[in-house]
Subunit: 226 residues, 2 copies
Amino acid sequence: MSKPRGIVLLSGGMDSCVCAALAARDYEPAALHVSYGQRTESRERAAFHAICDRLGIAQRLAVRNETLRAIGGSALTDHEISVPDASREIGSSIPLTYVPFRNAHFLAVAVSWAEVMAATRIVIGAVEQDSSGYPDCRPAYYSAFNEVIRTGTAEGAIRIETPLIAMRKAEIVQLGLELGAPFDLTWSCYVRQDRACGTCESCILRLRAFEAAGVRDPIPYAERQA
Amino acid sequence: MSKPRGIVLLSGGMDSCVCAALAARDYEPAALHVSYGQRTESRERAAFHAICDRLGIAQRLAVRNETLRAIGGSALTDHEISVPDASREIGSSIPLTYVPFRNAHFLAVAVSWAEVMAATRIVIGAVEQDSSGYPDCRPAYYSAFNEVIRTGTAEGAIRIETPLIAMRKAEIVQLGLELGAPFDLTWSCYVRQDRACGTCESCILRLRAFEAAGVRDPIPYAERQA
């Protein structure tokens, strides 16, 4: 029996890279990348293609969302707002880097594409714990979105999967190592595109994850916290 | 007490025009227009601005969604697929003009904008009966989407309203006349931009609505069915 078609949302970061490795194992995979005028846009798109190349994912869609930047309201898309260093308690409140309702834009693209290509699964690397406190990374949100898909699509058979949502970041690193996820090709930094800054909240979360897993993060950093 | 902020999704067609008139009456109104590479894109955007001008809606956002056309799969966005004449039974099955999961793209933009401007209501002119049989025009879909908003936004206080969803098209015309909705400025045709074709499913539904309401549709048609 052939594998079902599955679309992985692949930003190019470590979590979505692990999801891409899962999708390549379990599904006939297709990968979706949505850039949205975020600061590190071209670096993330390059990571997307490099990860797909390594994992042998030929079916790809890389599109640009023009509306999130027009709306603004986040340090990632509005260059009037600075990306904070991760000195505050991560996860204690909704941070400045929250892009309002961002994941719904990405999921809408994934579902439209799934309808056209008859894919039945969408894999997204949302993580609830150890994450930045974004409201659209919680299980209840994905349950509700699956109901939107069931009621709002022609077939209703498409389902979102969140394989990492209950995992700690260190467990995600371990899973990625087991699957051969190409962490060396990923990009997580919110600020820089040459070497990762090592001090934004995304870099801090990532460095903590590798440290907790007891392995060295293979990408180059401008600065590493002790 | 000041009115709450409400965003109306305004395509420029008759249903959304009535919703804009409702929003202008009940809310501090803002209007959102999303074009998506559909055939009559520039004509619909002109209708959006003309309707806003007439209703005195100053706060506007007109954006372009680049992904729906990249995905295709609909006669409205894929010019390899012809827009059918409305000879088949309208509403009997999902038509070729269905744009897969389109309304979720529009609602995602509306919710992101609502979060940034602190609006608490989103008004959309979805109609279940007398409509084209699109799955994303049913009440269950909007209930589910409201749950996505509740679980996936920072405040959770935004709610979608669908004031027309249970109305017949003739009732919508009547309501619009009572509210002074500027039907003369609207555009519904899927095919032409100079005069409405009078034969596509959107024109047919509209002409039937005005006929059932016993009033003449004020826009010019190339051809009118007897």
